[in-house]
Amino acid sequence: MRAFNRIATLVLSLVLIAGGLFIAVQAVLAALRHAPWLLPLRRWHAALTSTPLGDRLAVILMGAVGLLGLALLIAELRPWRPSRLPVHPATADAGSEWWVLRRPAERLLADAAARIPGVNSARVRLRGRHRWKVDVLAEARDEDRTEIAEAIDGELDRLAAPAPVRVRLRLRSPRRVA
């Protein structure tokens, strides 16, 4: 959604520049009683003054605009996971701000768990804005739990995640190979 917003804003800014200049040119032409430039504005004017509000197509278009707006509003207002999380390396200057990108950090933590013998796969989800919340889902036996927790803690320490970190570890029994 962040990438969508950025691209959409860039497009919007270009549309505003082109549209704004176009409106200014058309207004000057109209004030000087010249014919509209490029677009058939007179035909559009005739259509807008002759089409009733209750026209089927107009109502469908308005409905589509409303639904698009509602979808956009929901997409923007729903909670997003942060793209980066704060870290505090003890050796860094106190005035500096440090962050790690969420997705690579998730991959690194999942790698750390998956490297343990007996762990078939691991998935990690990171949440939290100031304090990290780590959700680990691993396909492993219960006796591997301590080792997985230690591996995750070690990686969090290497990443200088600010304490305390809340780690939730869930295990799924390994599937038997036929």
Partner: protein, 194 residues
């Protein structure tokens, strides 16, 4: 910029939702005082527009120019990192009072940023670094993006960055504050286990 974009598109979404809902309500005859048989562009609005004469077109031209200017500001803000202006390419430092620092000193700030990135990349823990110097000569800011090698302790990178910023200050006299660092752990080659 992320927060600004999010608020902007939430507002646009809200406006579109309200316009759509009001349009549908008016078209279906559910809006009191609005006749669904009336035109999309009502006669009373046209009459008022024509009564303003030349001023209506002048106001529309000004509104168009304001829209274009807003678009330009939006584009410029979007293309700047974090909405901040980069340090001027030819940075002229203030002359000091003593003999050693007297005289005009000018620096090429993109070259300085590249040199800082190269200095960061000299450490084995840093696979790739990208540095931008923002603000002005009196209040410079540093933003760095670092791809950190796998199995590296972030404290090592923190220490190395501190030394590199000290070198930058010693060489150029610039003391960046704040220093903002975003790290990609595992670098470009991080494997994917899901």
């Amino acid at each position: 910029m992320d927060r600004f974009n999010r608020v902007l598109w939430a507002m646009i979404g809200l406006v579109l939702a309200v316009v759509g809902a009001v349009g549908v309500a008016a078209g279906r005859g559910h809006l009191p005082g609005v006749d669904p048989r009336g035109a999309l562009l009502p006669r009373w609005l046209l009459t008022r527009w024509h009564s303003w004469g030349w001023w209506a077109w002048a106001a529309l031209a000004v509104a168009g120019l304001i829209l274009a200017w807003s678009g330009w500001r939006l584009l410029r803000a979007e293309l700047r990192p974090g909405g901040r202006r980069s340090l001027p390419a030819d940075l002229v430092l203030e002359a000091g009072d003593d003999r050693e620092t007297a005289g005009k000193v000018s620096l090429n700030s993109p070259a300085l940023a590249d040199a800082t990135a190269s200095a960061l990349e000299r450490h084995a823990a840093v696979e790739h670094a990208f540095v931008r110097l923002l603000g002005d000569a009196r209040h410079p800011e540093l933003r760095a993006r670092i791809d950190m090698a796998g199995d590296t302790d972030l404290r090592v990178v923190g220490e190395h960055l501190g030394r590199t910023v000290e070198q930058l200050t010693a060489t150029s006299g610039l003391r960046p504050d704040p220093v903002e660092v975003t790290v990609r752990p595992g670098g470009d080659t991080g494997s994917r286990v899901h």
